[in-house]
Amino acid sequence: MSKTVELPRWIDVGALPLLNLLLALVVSGLVVLAIGENPVEVVEILLYGAFGYEEAWGYTLYYTTNFIFTGLAFAVAFHCGLFNIGAEGQAYVGGLGVTLAALYLDFLPFPIMLVVAMLAAMIFGAAWAYIPAYLQARRGSHVVITTIMFNFIASSLMVYLLVNVLRPEGSMTPESEQIAEHLRLPFIHDIAGALGIEMASSPLNLSFVYAIVISVMVWLFIWHTRWGYAIRTVGANAVAATYAGLEPGRFIIIAMMISGALSSFMALNEVMGVQHRLLIDFTAGYGFVGIAVALMGRNHPFGIFLAALLFGMLYQGGAELSFEIPTISNDMVVVIQGLVILFTGAMEHMFRPRVTKIYTAWRLRQDAGEAA
């Protein structure tokens, strides 16, 4: 066995994840080839669909908004050593909070409503995360299984509420009433228009700005506060946390509730920003995309932003794709998502030994060269 050198940061958090991502994309290209289409053409259409015209940008960033929230949600729990697979359910229930606030407190002026809706989303999302968190912290029930179960329970609960409670009289579709016009989040194109800038209309709304603000706050929280420090300590070494007087159960619950609250912010974008009512399955798998986004972004808000943008692009470009090439549906994006999780998450260590070996050989040669 030979001596090895530790990898520098740029390889560790830059080149290696990129290599894994590249592999995921190459395999995706092979899938495209296998079903008889041209990968180059697919990439072209994807890029055009995502960025090729003004409206596309808006859509791309609208998807990105959702993924930032769910990605951050997964990351915060992950820093505490937890796999929160439940963003889907937490966002769904968070949407209930937003809807209830908007429907029953519709007399409030918009700025106050904005705060109330945010709080409602947080409280509902965090509450839904609290039960699995409590069970993990106090009864040792594995949070992976319980959050999966809670996704299904949330789904049943919401269907029940939409069919039996929230559905307006006489309506056949299981969805809530529309929320009042003055309580909707303004679209970016409207804001721009008010400022005299012409912009194509898209679902992109104020919540995108909010997502950026929240990203910065999460970054500060995790790396620059003692609570974030405590959460990371519990995640990295629960015994050391106990030794330090940081009771792991307490921080498991805190991290999961923050995670639930972050997922639920997705509902602000969807319910208050775009759909303006509560729809069945409005979460549409965005919660699961959050896993891919967080893993790819190395659980760092900046990485998450980049990964969310990539997925936003894939989602928007994918819609264009299914329009242009009938044999390729939106499902191509789901395939890419699966491959990205597989290669950047599950197989993240695959290239490490080899890269370390190559880097070590290179360094040794460098050192030898300098010595000579």
């Binding site: 008889g36 009864r139 299904f152 789901v334 699966g338």
Partner: protein, 323 residues
């Protein structure tokens, strides 16, 4: 319709709804007892269902379809093993990746091959597993009580239903009465003990996930070529997770897992029949509550309120030799 007949029909439906759960729960058990978390049951089931329906359509034989399903799920198991066992990747992440991948891939390939919006073409009779009528089932049909039990409840299912129910004692026997089972259970509890006994940990775990693949492949084939007559997009609809829940509920043991599958299958069968029915004394039971019950029960079990479910000790941890 009298109550007795109603019960027979309900139980008959229970057998049909619990079959895929049983096969998948046993699949999960083989994998997890060897130390590899298998969240990928859902995706593997989906992949199996698609392969079975697609191949059965082209070849016209459900048996070839079944083989294709098993080949697919073994391949997926090997992929899962490659990530988790060989590269020591995170088992939860790998499982989720396979689920998401298969959800997209089955639809994508379905559209590319058949252009029916992700469905496979409807299978004719010869390409599906047909009900098997037991000898004398017609004759004893009218015998009170036992007649309907024999001819309606026990007879008249397709071969995979019977395979699932035979698989439970078979899995038990393999797990507790054979060398393979002993080693498999040991590798999930303490891989170090297996390694120092001169048995390869990696090979053992691969064998376990392959067993898992065979079983979950059958469960997928059942959905599309026995219970149904084609593949539908996302047709598993969470059955893989319910099977996982049943396995946990059964504390990673074959017979308790069977009981959990029957319970969950029964709830599923009952849910469709309870729609809008007012039960005396209870009122109308929300069908969504019945549907959510398997998940709620599993959470309650995991919380330790009904017995304690102790997972295999080395579950979720890749084997690294200690220094």
């Amino acid at each position: 319709m009298d109550t007795f007949q109603l019960i027979i029909l309900l139980l008959d439906a229970t057998l049909r709804t619990s079959t895929p759960l049983i096969l998948a729960a046993l699949a999960g058990m083989f994998s997890e007892r060897s130390g590899t978390i298998n969240l990928a049951l859902e995706g593997m089931m989906l992949g199996g269902a698609f392969s079975a329906a697609a191949v059965a359509f082209y070849v016209g034989s459900p048996w070839v379809g079944l083989l294709a399903a098993i080949a697919t799920t073994i391949a997926l198991s090997l992929l899962h093993g490659f990530a988790c066992i060989t590269h020591k990747g995170n088992q939860v992440v790998s499982g989720m990746a396979i689920n998401i991948l298969m959800s997209g891939l089955t639809a994508l390939v379905g559209i590319a091959l058949f252009a029916q919006g992700g469905k496979t073409p409807a299978l004719d009779k010869g390409s599906r597993f047909q009900p098997i009528t037991f000898p004398g089932a017609e004759a004893v049909k009218d015998v009170p009580v036992l007649g309907p039990i024999y001819s309606e409840l026990l007879s008249g299912h397709n071969i995979l239903v019977y395979v699932a129910f035979i698989a439970v004692p078979a899995a038990w026997w393999v797990m507790y009465r054979t060398r393979f089972g002993l080693r498999l259970r040991a590798v999930g509890e303490n891989p170090g003990a297996v390694d120092t006994a001169g048995i390869g940990v990696v090979a053992m775990r691969y064998r376990a996930v392959i067993c898992s693949g065979v079983l979950v492949g059958m469960s997928g084939a059942y959905l599309s070529t026995a219970q149904g007559a084609s593949f539908l997009q996302d047709m598993t609809a969470g059955k893989g997770y319910i099977a996982l829940a049943a396995m946990v509920f059964g504390k990673w043991r074959p017979f308790p897992a069977l009981a959990a599958c029957l319970l969950f299958g029964f709830l599923d069968a009952a849910a469709t029949r309870l729609q809008g029915v007012v039960l005396p004394g209870i009122g109308e039971v929300p069908v969504q509550l019945v549907q959510a019950l398997p998940y709620i029960l599993t959470v309650i079990l995991l919380a330790g309120f009904i017995g304690r479910a102790i997972p295999p000790k080395a579950l979720g941890r890749a084997y690294v030799k200690e220094r």
